[in-house]
Point group: C2
Chain length 617, copies 2
């Protein structure tokens, strides 16, 4: 049961609602002449009136009935004038930190786009500042109408033993959070190898969640959808947003999962996955009750310039998914996924009055958003504006490098016997994909050091531990970004250590020290000049400015990337996954290269026996 | 969260399931070559294997995958040989007492028909023996594999102030039961006038249920589906089985309710209601996720001779409802209605292994039933057979009449000024309907007494308080049964007082005393002879024999009814509603006639100003 994100619990206000429905007490708000999107019946019902009291729907007047009897002298009457009125949108899996602002600023950005609730997994913050940091985010959230429902980060570190993080979360910690008001489940269980091995740590967290009657959210990203997927679901994980192919969607649905079709800034899965539902070979009678649409990671620029779930809905419909079915995927289905259908996800008597006015069912342009019966956004603007959140100093000073960084720090010694080049492992990365490929490529050796080879788009990348000043760092190579200069960022999933990429050591050093000095963020450097900087002092992940301000900075940075030679869309988000060791195939953490298929460290240099691809496809 | 009706909670056994799915530990049971009815996706999937351990599905092998890797030397392998395998059926609203046997005997009767779980509201027992009696029923249930999930009786008495019962239940009592293992919600809230008036008693019970995170089941039987229905749902009631017209179904679905389409022995609503879904005017895209099929009240003869939810499914399909959609209405939809989808209602990894083998999707003939991974019924026979339940004496001696009954007790004095006849109120009753009509008919006066008029099918009916020996009783008339002689029964909803109907006082007296002496049940008498008797000594409602034995007795009794002139189907069940004052239009309780539209007592004799119908339509 949801304890926090409602103005009043139903048992606290049902007497009033009963009175309002029968005209004995006036409603607080009456919406007249709505074209109701009824997600319970999958219908569009013209001339519907909605009376609201205590933040909940008290009366739904379906034509020819009206809510005139609910109107008193102080009732706010809103004429929808035939506009579509749908339940407010719920994002079933996402990370607020990806927006690079805190929860309140995020809310100001997305609520005008119709998002009334998010199931957020603050595991970026948790990796840096632990559950204390998460609690601050939850505190920030209480100041805005967005229903920020927490799923406790389950994998901090994401891959224990392979990286160093600022904090760690275990079953006992998870158990404690299950009593927090804002917690409704467990965050994405990325440690599927641990689940498949029936390890105590992941199962302990899952069990504490199930025991509380909450749902466990998933992350199953491998194409094996038989024994492994069965075992993963056996654990108690009930939803998953990591599907790469239409057949993954079907397999997960058949095994009873809620499938969260993802369309985020950088992971644009929907066009690939939608055919499972709307493609020419799709079963037209396939039940979609377990399908949801989620964003996972949305960039500030995406939100500010394009929107949030509203634009995902528009895309879904453009891909042939029925409009009301698509709306169900961000309303009733999502509520049901978390057993919250009694309060959220539909416009019906007793439910929270969270709703949106839509111009049409193609663009899904939102003209008004209401949460708990209050108009909280209108014509694209949020009507709430809290003070900047006062983050404690331990969240805004998180750069703790254990070494003084200079150009020399970035030198990679070559083996003594090396000739003009050595064969190295490199991460092959491409836009729009969370996966990397393990490449085996030749890197030049000069003056006893292995160098980048920008002519072949082979760049150096180093990851520095930055939480506990241990001085741990490791080096590798990356292919796919095509820049000259250096880029550094502290948004480096999921440990969020300091990640530096470049084609020369001097620029890399300048990039690193620039971030060290400003508390983290992202920076671009070329030829000794800082070309762009996004300061993210909160955990090295979030700005204290508005989403629009950060979006401007990020847009500038993206222009810088393009000027530096990168053709990738959202390169910053793609680069930020170079260290994410829970997704195949090869990743670099502060401890070194991790083979994310077999879960073992692998060396930088390729052994002659290694058989991975040596060409760039 | 469901605490009792699973062999093991998922968090207690997920390690084993994970091992089984991956072939590291053998399964307890493997079903091979099933044609899976997948209620999550609405698909029928041939060549599916199902591996089971710890009572739960560990692995679902969808072709071309098989569960061969889960088979060990001790694994029980069942070859489904292509049979349809569907989730076991769940009855979302029913009263075990209507089967006239205890829960264990009921289970023996219905489990072979594929019913694996019932959401039962033991309000008949509660009216006689209170929550102590309910606890005994729950105790009986623990001895059989049927998942007997309790919804605490909410309306005991059904209509406070209008009848005398053996016990009463209030908000504090309801709150206590919410901590019982077997309780999953609140039983049907029949007191809709109280809900609409926002009375403390019904709302108190509802609030205690909502506070616990459980669902409140409904009973909204009036055709008003605007302000009243909105207000009723506002209270927190989330499902309803009392729909009389297709438009009631649509209205309730649109207002977010789960609609439980009822097909019981006597209340045959499905043929009337199915067109809302499958009729020529139905919206083919109507979402049916909130539709369930329930029995409410099934007679022992119905169960023994025709079946249970299996026959309801067959009827639904014959009425044009898609077979898989119909199965969803007794599986996943029902589980979802009670927020139990995580454990029940589908065949998927981690879910309870409750399933049925079906010969086809038209007759829905069940050849095997499995609960928690155990084969519990095969080829129509239950494979479990507990000892008769030892009911305490206070449950088997419940006939406490406060007066010595003789023929004189049944005399109804006429007013002194009466002529040859007086105009009386009579309950017009008809088979298959729970409603009565208020009729105004002429009754003959002889020797200063108002008499029955069997030639016009106008019979006398008296109701005697029988719980606390108060001697309270009241008299009225009934039309629709057409018998000569007398019938009496202690199954007289919901107070279950002693109800006696007949055309002469001597037979009525014999009928009454016969039941008094045997502890309750039903009896037919004519011309001084007992023609049929069904002894129901447990609360005056249930036999201690088997369902088959009681069915035989009831069948004999029905033959007796027909011999006595009654053409009604299940007349016993229809007569048993003559005192049910929570359903329109006119009912007789031990305190007198109740106008069940306005909720006031009305006199036997019709005033000249009264305007109700005086003809028999």
């Amino acid at each position: 049961m949801l304890t926090a994100p409602c103005k009043a619990q139903l048992w606290e206000c049902n007497k009033t609602l009963i009175d309002v429905a029968q005209g004995r007490t006036p409603a607080d708000v009456v919406i007249r002449h709505a074209t109701l999107v009824n997600v319970c019946t999958h219908e569009v019902l013209p001339q519907t009136d909605i009376a609201i009291a205590e933040g909940r729907v008290a009366y739904l007047g379906l034509a020819p009935h009206t809510a005139e009897h609910c109107i008193g002298p102080d009732t706010q009457v809103i004429d929808a004038a035939g506009a579509y009125v749908a339940p407010g949108f719920l994002d079933g899996h996402m990370h607020v930190e990806s927006s690079m602002v805190g929860v309140a600023e995020f809310a100001r950005a997305v609520v005008p786009h119709g998002t009334v609730g998010v199931f957020y997994d603050p595991h970026e913050c948790a990796n840096v500042c632990g559950l204390d940091g998460v609690r601050q985010m939850a505190l920030d959230a209480t100041r805005v109408p967005l229903k920020a429902m927490l799923t406790t980060p389950s994998c901090v570190p994401a891959v224990p033993g392979f990286e160093d993080t600022g904090s760690a979360i275990g079953p006992d910690d998870a158990a404690k959070t299950m009593r927090w008001d804002s917690v409704v489940g467990l965050g994405e269980m990325m440690n599927y190898p641990g689940v498949l091995a029936a390890d105590d740590h992941p199962l302990g967290e899952i069990d504490e969640t199930l025991r509380r009657g909450y749902r466990v959210t998933g992350h199953y990203s491998v194409p094996e959808v038989d024994q492994g997927l069965n075992a993963y679901i056996d654990s108690g994980v009930s939803c998953c947003h990591e599907s790469a192919r239409p057949e993954d969607v079907i397999a997960k649905l058949r095994l009873g999962m809620y499938v969260q079709l993802r369309e985020g800034s950088a992971w644009n899965n929907l066009a690939t996955l939608a055919p499972a539902i709307s493609g020419p070979d799709a079963d037209p009678t396939l039940d979609t009750r377990h399908c949801c649409l989620v964003t996972d990671d949305d960039h500030p620029a995406t939100i500010v310039h394009h929107g949030h779930l509203d634009q995902v809905l528009a895309l879904a419909v453009s891909l042939g998914i029925d409009a009301v079915t698509a709306i169900q995927m961000v309303t009733i289905n999502t509520a049901s996924c978390f057993d919250l259908e009694a309060d959220l996800g539909s416009i019906a008597p007793g439910k929270c009055a969270d709703l949106v006015f839509l111009d049409d069912l193609t663009s899904f342009h939102v003209s008004l958003t209401m949460v708990d019966g209050d108009v909280v956004a209108k014509d694209g603007a949020a009507l709430f504006s809290p003070e900047p959140f006062a983050y404690p100093a331990w969240m805004t000073h998180t750069m703790h490098l254990g070494e003084r960084i200079s150009a020399a720090t970035f030198a990679i010694p070559a083996p003594e016997e090396a000739g003009a080049s050595v064969r190295v492992r490199a991460m092959g990365m491409s836009a729009g994909s969370t996966l990397t490929r393990e490449l085996h490529l030749d890197a030049p050796v000069r003056d006893g050091h292995i160098e980048a080879d920008p002519t072949n788009d082979l760049l150096k990348v180093l990851v520095f531990e930055r939480h506990h000043a241990t001085g741990t760092h490791a080096a590798g190579f990356v292919h796919g970004f095509g820049i000259h200069g250096a880029l550094a960022q502290t948004v480096a999933h999921d440990a969020h250590n300091l990640l530096v990429m470049g084609d020369n050591d001097a620029d890399m050093a300048l990039a690193a020290t620039t971030l060290e000095n400003c508390g983290g963020g992202e920076v671009a450097v070329a030829d000794g000049h800082v070309l762009g900087l996004v300061e993210l002092p909160v955990c090295g992940l979030m700005s204290q400015g508005s989403a629009a301000e950060v979006a401007d900075q990020v847009s500038h940075m993206e222009q810088v990337w393009r000027d530096m030679g990168c053709t990738m869309n959202s390169p910053f988000m793609t680069l930020g996954l170079a260290s994410l060791a829970c997704i195949p195939e090869l990743r670099l953490t502060d401890r070194g290269y991790v083979d994310c298929t077999t879960y073992r460290f692998v060396p930088l240099l390729v052994d002659e026996k290694d058989t991975a691809p040596d060409t760039i496809a």
